[in-house]
Amino acid sequence: MVTAMLPPDWPGGFWAHWAVFVVVIFVFVLGVMMGALWFERRAMAIMQARLGPNRTGPFGLLQPVADAIKLLLKEDIVPAKGDKLVHWLAPVVVVAPVLMIFAVVPFQGGAILADLNIGILYIVAISSVATVGVFMAGWASNNKYSLLGAMRMVASVVSYEIPVVLSIIGVVLLAGSLSMQQIVLAQDIPFILLQPLGFLLFFIGALAEINRAPFDLMEADSEIVAGFNTEYSGIKWSMFFLGEYGEALAISAIVTTLFLGGWRGPVLPPWLWFLVKVGLVFFTMVWIRTTVPRVRIDQLMALAWKFLFPLALLNLFITAVEILVFPAVSLWVLVGVNIAIMIVLVLLWSRLFKLGWGKVEV
């Protein structure tokens, strides 16, 4: 039974495969996280007409290393009346799920740590564990701002989980399987063309879930100082920081696997295609983060429930109809139809939908 799980062309027993991929994931994830940190700071800097870090190492490449060393040496303050154990445990609970997501991401043909046949379900389950960690951090810091930040995080993740999962189901319908390998193999036409509305909903929902770009309310520095990680410093704070970039990379990897055709690509070697696509999606996140102001918490909620959720249902319904009623229609025609549907639905829906401007009568 053990060998059955072994991908055909990998030498050595299961444990050799496991060991190689654990090392790959740790090196890939931590390395690319550092790279992502540097890339974001440089890209944002150039887009803001300034230089960004360029003092430590060539082009500032060692800046993340310098930050890491600085943070490790920083004093680790624990709030006096805070809950010590929960305060210590929170960063672990936030960062561990992020690393576990990469276990299922296919870097190349067979190159996957565990080719689970319920790959995408595993990812959705694991990514909601991180929210518990954030709330633990908010509560344990015994600080009003942290509590506000944690409450916002929980509220937004709970309400964005539904549109994200519904848009994933749309993709799974087309691919016919939950396993990430199969989804990539089924993408002769990248699903972003077949599922444009699904891609839009997933991307917006994912941005809100990892609190990046327009939805970074959890540590909105202009409002509630630094949200749930106000009372953290030193290595615990850097764990949260790495957790955030890890989640951004995980979401980019999932988007590439689900919508952009993973490692499939004409000329370049497959693993390079995967990295290029992840880099592209990450760059769009950085690009949006540089330009767009922050959304208010009730608008965030209103967007989830009144805009994304109904559209996700409609999208699921339309995809199901397409698969059942017109299986024979060629995929390229479907691409045109789906894009038209997306445009019509988005315009129609935003006409009805008013972002919450409510002034609460006190």
């Binding site: 944002m44 887009m47 803001q48 007409a49 300034r50 009003k144 701002y145 506000l148 409450m151 327009p214 970074d216 309310l217 909105a220 520095d221 202009s222 409002e223 509630i224 100082v225 983060r289 540089t290 330009t291 767009v292 102001p293 922050r294 959304v295 208010r296 918490i297 009730d298 608008q299 972002l355 401007w357 002034k359 609460v360 009568e361 006190v362």
Partner: protein, 367 residues
């Protein structure tokens, strides 16, 4: 079943990323909604009005730099106008034009900071503020060329300006005037119809027209509520009656209108600067004034349209070389009077934006 919630008090400030200086708001929050808010001032009080009572009239000019440090050229202008009115000193033509050029450049520089930090409070991650500070840098270069400093200029003197502008000032200003409208259009392209900014700022923190007049608000805050009142047009001082420019006003009096009024005012200032640069006369930059000025006994109130509002200087002279009483009408302190009414009922995120859109400078509030 009514869930028992219990409001808790949060101190936003004095050291908070977006209180624009040391300003504290004792806010009572019910969850996210602001129930009550009490502003606390005084963290930056240096007693400028007491200091001024033992300095000569020229020695007070560096004091006025420190009032609203983001618009110290306008502070100098207001103080010097008041003293000239008190002592009856005439100012040569060229000095008048240089003063108007400096005041309008200062208005653009101050509005750039105001709009930039307002966007920062909305959460646009430092991008608009960095673009606008880049343009402000060009204006600071011009100021440095004329008076040697980039923040506390101490450039204007009773009877004119301390030194005439160098020859390369006019061509540099001409180049700036050609280039700046393009940059302002780029800001508009980045921000004007941004859906998230519209959602965040439109209809938020409304200051009604009657309340604005009742609390004697002034400057962009008053004009955004639809009151067409600008000292340059209502009570023209210096040579402002020679330039034609119009007064942008909003209608709803919300944060978005205050942002739009400031951007339009930048465009109007550019118009004034073009006209002023075109007919900048030659001649003396400063009239003969004794260093130890003895203005006659009496009192005077001179006010100008500073970037943040109606900045007035009330001077009482008892014939000696130092002012007997030196009072500053701080537009930012008075604009804050209605902060509590504008903020109660909104959420924490809106409190920060509404406060940011009023654009205060704590040095002028606390004096």
């Amino acid at each position: 079943m009514v869930i028992k919630t219990e409001p808790f008090v949060v101190n936003i400030g004095p050291a908070h990323p977006s209180t624009h200086g040391v300003f504290r708001m004792r806010t009572t929050l019910d969850g996210e909604v602001v129930v009550d808010m009490e502003p606390v001032f005084g963290y930056l009080h240096r007693g400028i009005e007491k200091l001024a009572e033992e300095r000569t009239y020229t020695g007070c000019i560096p004091l006025t730099d420190r009032l609203d440090y983001l618009a110290s050229m306008s502070n100098n202008f207001a103080y010097v106008l008041a003293v000239e009115k008190l002592a009856g000193i005439a100012v040569p033509e060229r000095a008048e034009y240089i003063r108007v050029i400096m005041a309008e450049l200062q208005r653009i520089a101050s509005h750039l900071i105001a709009v930039g930090t307002f966007l920062n409070d909305c959460g646009a991650f430092q991008t608009p503020v960095v673009y606008m500070i880049r343009e402000r840098e060009k204006i600071l270069d011009l100021f440095e060329m004329a008076c040697g400093q980039r923040l506390t200029y101490n450039y204007m003197r009773v009877g004119g300006v301390s030194q005439d502008v160098p020859e390369e000032f006019a061509p540099a200003l001409g180049k700036f005037l050609k280039e700046m409208p393009g940059w302002i259009n780029e800001y508009d392209q980045l921000l004007k119809d941004n859906e998230i900014l519209l959602a965040r700022a439109k209809g938020v923190g409304i200051l009604s027209k009657e309340l604005a007049i009742n609390i004697a608000a002034s400057g962009p805050v008053l004009r955004a509520s639809g009151v067409k009142w600008d000292i340059r047009r209502a009570d023209p001082y210096s040579i402002y009656d020679r330039f034609n420019f119009d007064i942008p006003t909003g209608n709803a009096g919300d944060c978005y209108d205050r942002y739009r009024v400031r951007v339009e005012e930048m465009r109007q200032s550019l118009r004034i600067l073009k006209q002023a640069l075109k007919d900048l006369p030659q001649g003396e930059a400063r009239s003969e004034v004794p260093q130890r000025l003895h203005p006659p006994v009496g009192e005077v109130y001179g006010h100008i349209e500073a970037p943040r509002g109606d900045l007035g200087f009330y001077l009482v002279s008892d014939g000696s070389i130092a002012p007997y009483r030196f009072h500053v009408r701080a537009p930012t302190l008075i604009n804050l009077t209605a902060l509590r009414d504008m903020v109660v009922g909104w959420k924490v995120a809106d409190l920060i934006i509404i406060f940011g859109s009023i654009d205060i400078c704590m040095a002028e509030v606390d004096r």
